[in-house]
């Protein structure tokens, strides 16, 4: 493309931008050249910072005084391309324009391959330098505007503390809004760390009883006696340690909502008691004959396939139908990777505030790594990664070194699945594949059979041959977290 054509193209797409966005740091060991470049850059409307040696230049970049380095580098010169590598290792977000007397096409390509933004021969052509500075300035300006838009988008895409822009999550928000208006029980289904409690709180807040109380009970955290006491209350002396008479969560939240997290972990005996609350709208404190009437909306949550639990005899069918007339399924994070950048922004903002930091974002390679990770711990795991990275990050951006070690090591794998190929027997391959599909379907054998393209009976026969089918299905349905 000739300069004339380039000039025409540039003119037609020129967009106004803030010129003062970048402050170039100029590195040249020749004082005269340093003066000349400084004057030229000044004349082009940019402020600059001078450095007479590489360490000074690196300090300038580390302290954020500049994010653009104009450096006299060459393979044979005082400062070689190893310095270029050092700069980009220090901060992969920095732009480097190489300026050199020893211009060759090969050296230009080598510099760009190593990460330089541009390569200018000396003596520096004013128009070329202006174009290079303007391009980078425009890029920074664009990024700033994108960040501002992302902040606005974050506000628009937040649903009661939950963030998502994927079609799957927008559907969840939409459905939650619809069901919240009706005073009916809801079952929230999703893997650990997907935000079931947040969805439950959102449903409560939007509901007609949003101004009433919400009580949260984690059913896996307590043994039956303590769980019963927490839910229904107790009278003094009803069991060892019951030194006073107390109401339970159902009484506390009377007129409002009770959220039963991990309801799939409850015993059959506890399930019978919960069924009584739903059917008869009454409770009895532990150790008391008195029956109290209550009106509560129940929101239950589970990471298990309750239908499979019913089939296995571990969950009451009548309770299942009472809880699950309305189900909200929250997809795992790996099914909606387009939400990851938005969630990263959300958590960055949160932890910048919490830790008193001003980290604007992640390096490109860190972002790429996050998008490749399978997120078995879902949004909670992502939140912990960002929180941890914000704690350890010393630079402007979160980079690879700030991410958990196992994620950094994963970066070296070429395969997308992260599997190391081994020459297994067909039987082993089949076994591993079936277990993975079962895990993906949360232990639902009907769905797994459909995915595998085999009949349900064939799958049952295979599982029975391999061991206890219920046990295999359950293990497959429980996430690592």
């Amino acid at each position: 493309m000739s300069d004339g054509v380039a000039a025409t193209v540039t003119k037609s797409v020129e967009v106004p931008f803030a010129k003062g966005t970048v402050t170039p740091c100029i590195l040249d060991d020749d004082p005269e050249q340093l003066d000349a470049l400084t004057a030229l850059i000044d004349d082009l409307g940019y402020k600059s910072v001078r450095a007479s040696d590489p360490d000074e230049a690196l300090q300038c970049l580390r302290h954020g005084r500049s994010r653009l380095l104009l450096a006299d580098l060459s393979d044979t010169g005082l400062y070689g391309y190893d310095f270029l590598d050092r700069v980009l290792r220090t901060d992969p977000g920095v732009h480097v324009i190489v300026i050199t007397r020893d211009y060759t096409l090969e050296s230009a390509l080598e510099a760009i391959r190593r990460g330089a933004s541009d390569f200018l021969p000396k003596p520096v052509d004013r128009a070329r330098l202006k174009r290079a500075l303007d391009d980078i300035s425009m890029l920074y300006d664009q990024r700033r505007r994108v960040r501002a838009l992302e902040e606005q988008l974050l506000k628009d895409l937040e649903f009661h503390g939950i963030v998502g822009k994927s079609p799957a999550m927008l559907e969840v928000f939409d459905f939650a809004r619809k069901v919240a208006r009706h005073y009916t029980n809801v079952l929230v289904v999703g893997q650990t760390g997907t935000g079931k409690e947040l969805v439950a709180r959102a449903v409560h807040q939007i509901s007609p009883v949003g101004t009433q109380r919400l009580a949260v009970c984690n059913c896996s955290a307590l043994v039956d006696t303590l769980l019963e006491s927490q839910l229904f209350g107790h009278v003094r002396g009803s069991f060892t340690g019951a030194t006073d008479t107390r109401p339970g969560l159902f009484e506390y939240a009377n007129g409002g909502t009770v959220f039963l997290d991990e309801v799939g972990e409850t015993s059959l005996a506890m399930q019978a008691k919960l069924l009584r609350v739903i059917q008869n709208r009454e409770i009895q404190r532990v150790g008391s004959p008195e029956v109290k009437q209550i009106t509560v909306r129940l929101i239950a949550a589970t990471n298990r396939d309750l239908r499979a639990e019913v089939l296995a005899g571990r969950f009451r069918e009548d309770l299942f139908y009472r809880l699950s007339s309305i189900q909200i399924r929250i997809p795992p994070l790996r099914e909606r990777p387009e939400d990851i950048p938005l969630l990263v922004q959300f958590f960055l903002k949160k932890y910048n505030e919490a830790y008193g930091k001003k980290i604007p974002g992640l390096s490109r390679r860190a972002q790429s790594l996050l998008l490749q990770h399978p997120w078995p711990g879902n949004v909670r795991e992502l939140e912990n990664v960002i929180s941890s990275a914000c704690i350890t990050a010393a630079g402007d951006f979160i980079d690879l070194a700030d991410l958990p070690e196992h994620m950094q090591h994963r970066q070296g794998h070429a395969t997308g699945s992260g599997d190391d190929w081994q020459p297994l027997s067909l039987e082993e391959v089949r076994k591993i594949h079936i277990q993975r599909v079962l895990a993906m379907c949360h232990g639902n054998r009907l769905r797994a059979a459909h995915v595998l393209g085999i009949g349900r009976t064939s799958l049952y026969r295979y599982l029975t041959r391999e061991g206890n089918p219920a046990h295999l299905g359950r293990r497959a349905g429980v996430a690592a977290a």
Binding site: G161, T192, G193, E197, L198, R201, R213, L214, A215, V216, C217, N218, S220, A221, Q230, L249, Y252, A354, Y355, G356, K357, K358, P376, G377, R380, E381, E383, N384, S387, S388, C390, I391, T392, A393, A394, P404, E405, H406, A480, A481
Partner: protein, 93 residues
């Protein structure tokens, strides 16, 4: 004692979430016992479980110091506050 949810990465780099009890004694030492074997000096995140709170409580990071394996086979840790590097304000705790 406080009911807490603890999350982090164990020695095999698997992400875990557990419910446990935080013991907070008079000397302001915090102890927690976990099923998961967490590398000494790693960061875990604690969230208080508060049944009657209007909002979900926030996760707070702590650095672990391995103390002992209990007779039940659980791993007991002392927890130390974490100071973010290069923070503009003081540490979280």
């Amino acid at each position: 004692m406080y009911r807490v949810e603890v999350s982090g990465w164990d020695k095999s780099q698997t992400f875990f979430v557990e419910k446990s009890e935080l013991v907070w004694n008079e000397e302001s030492e915090k102890h927690v016992t976990l099923n998961s074997a967490v590398p000494d000096g790693s960061v875990v995140f604690l969230r208080m479980i508060r049944p009657l709170s209007a909002d979900q409580s926030q996760s707070v990071p702590y650095e672990t110091e391995f103390l002992t394996v209990t007779p039940d086979g659980l791993n007991q840790f002392r927890l130390h506050p974490v100071s973010p590097r290069g923070a503009e304000r003081g540490s979280m705790n």
